[in-house]
């Protein structure tokens, strides 16, 4: 298994290490629910150094990204971050990612760890040599500081006024505890927070400085388990679950990040056709009426007939009940409607409810 620069510190903190797509990462330290609640009420520090960082540069960079990504890259200003998808010609998703624009000739793409190699190939193939594409994943450690106390904690370690760093903006060169870092006001928890990119050699010191200084504000490390329950409550998609090669962004309710009115991009024709024909599947949120825990890939039925499947399910620590996201036939996707989740051959009742389950609390908008 590959190790992040923080690995030894996870062990020192008694992190329970699991194999996460080939990476040795902590699923929890003191427990998923405690870590989850700590991020919602105070702040948590995540090591997400497994994420992939890809740089695209050259005079054609903007034009090229406009072609391979679904969001409108030409609308970005310098030091802005966009969430976007990257699609196949048939509208299926290669990956979802965030793009950092330094300038119109230099962009940093942050992609999922499990899809990084595939993404790189896809980006290379689509480039026809018009841009330079470099995998810099080994040059970046990535820490996510998330929670209502995140700004207060980080502010104590830097001279730059963080209240001026707006949501989905970044500062490419700020110093935290004396360590140079790229900091963006982004995250994957539904809380305010920052993602901090630093040199892997200095990352352990950065991790320790943040935890030490943040302790008085209640900062604690948080593992992958809490990362998943937090993003799930905020209904933030996870590649391979809510979106995939077989699920388009429109079906997943991510149309806002797909600009069908911009010039041609990979997947546009298929997605335009899908929208015109009417989107036949829809991602919905549900809560269990019967007792039971829904999990990914469980079948969803209406009157005993299959109408879809669960994309993510589980126990929500914030709501203290079992909830899920499911991709179902649009005809059945009405709020308050009753659906059945097949749990170990038993049909359990659930109710369609609005998502996100947890109202996001971003600052700096």
């Amino acid at each position: 298994m590959k190790k992040t620069p923080i690995y030894d510190l996870h062990l020192a903190l008694s992190g329970k290490i699991i194999d996460f797509g080939g990476w040795a990462l902590p699923v929890e330290y003191e427990g998923i629910i405690a870590e989850h609640n700590n991020v919602r009420t105070k702040a948590g520090l995540f090591d997400v150094s497994h994420m992939g960082e890809i740089v695209v540069k050259g005079s054609n960079a903007e034009k090229y990204l406009q072609q391979v990504l679904t969001n409108d890259i030409s609308a970005m200003v310098d030091n802005q971050v966009y969430y976007t998808l990257m699609c196949y010609p048939d509208g299926g998703v290669v990956d979802d990612l965030i793009v950092y624009k330094y300038n119109s000739e230099y962009y940093l793409l942050v992609v999922n760890a499990s899809t990084k190699d595939k993404d790189l190939c896809w980006l290379q193939e689509a480039s026809h040599g018009q841009v330079e594409i470099n995998d810099l994943s080994d040059s970046y450690a990535l820490l996510a500081l998330q929670g209502p106390k995140a700004e207060e904690i980080l502010q104590e370690l830097t001279d730059v006024a963080l209240d001026e760093l707006k949501f989905f903006r970044f500062n490419p060169e700020l110093k935290i505890a004396g360590i140079p870092a790229l900091v963006s006001r982004t995250g994957y928890t539904g809380e305010d927070g920052f993602e901090i990119y630093a040199n892997p050699v200095q990352a352990p010191l950065l991790w320790e400085s943040l935890l030490k200084d943040g302790a008085k504000h209640g900062l604690k490390p948080a593992g992958l388990g809490a990362r998943d329950t937090l993003r799930f409550e905020a209904a933030l998609p996870l590649y391979g679950h809510e979106i995939s090669q077989d699920i388009t962004p429109l079906e997943a309710g991510l149309g806002f990040f797909v600009k069908l009115n911009k010039d041609d991009f990979i997947g546009k024709q298929a997605l335009v056709r899908q929208k015109e024909a009417g989107i036949s599947r829809k991602l919905v949120g549900f809560e269990m009426i019967d007792r039971g825990v829904p999990r990914s890939e469980y079948e969803v039925q209406v009157n005993g007939v299959k109408v879809g499947f669960v994309t993510t399910g589980g126990f929500s620590p914030s709501l203290n009940k079992s909830i899920g996201l499911a991709l179902i036939d649009s005809d059945y996707a009405q709020e308050d409607a009753t659906i059945e989740i097949v749990v170990r051959n038993k049909s359990l009742k659930a109710r369609i409810i609005p998502k996100p389950f947890y109202k996001k609390r971003y600052k700096g908008k």
Binding site: V27, E28, G31, I32, I33, G225, T229, R291, G292, V293, R295, G314, F315, P317, S322, R344
Partner: protein, 127 residues
């Protein structure tokens, strides 16, 4: 890791308390700590006849669903309804939280269980 001396244990982290011909079955402190916070438990019905190794229960933690298999054969004489309303009791008091009681159909199966000290050694080796 907490271990109660007088109980019998299995390598798959169940404990068994035998009272006459009745066996009370639960999961060990080691098992609950590895599962994490338990949010749901599915139990069989009273009267179900189970053979050794058959699925006895499904325990859902925040992380995932895990199967518990019965270490002995017999008929379910009672289920612990308290766990259905308060599954986290398994985390807090694993040795008080019996899942079911089973009337043993073959008490010799208990010979396959181990004592507390031996179980402690087995679990330590797993770490």
């Amino acid at each position: 890791m907490k271990i109660i001396k007088d109980l019998k244990y299995t390598a798959s982290h169940e404990w068994i308390r035998v009272e006459g011909n009745i066996a009370f079955i639960g999961i060990t402190d080691y098992a609950q700590s590895h599962l994490g916070t338990i949010v749901f438990v599915e139990l069989p019905e009273v009267g179900d006849q189970l053979s050794k190794g058959a699925p006895l229960s499904v325990v859902e933690s925040v992380k995932a669903a895990s199967d518990v298999y019965t270490p002995v054969s017999g008929t379910v004489t009672a289920i612990n309804e308290e766990l259905i309303d308060d599954p986290e009791k398994i985390n807090k008091e694993p040795y008080e939280s019996w899942f079911v009681s089973i009337e043993l159909s073959d008490p010799t199966e208990l010979e396959n269980t181990v004592a507390g000290e031996e179980y402690e050694r087995l679990s330590e080796r797993e770490e």
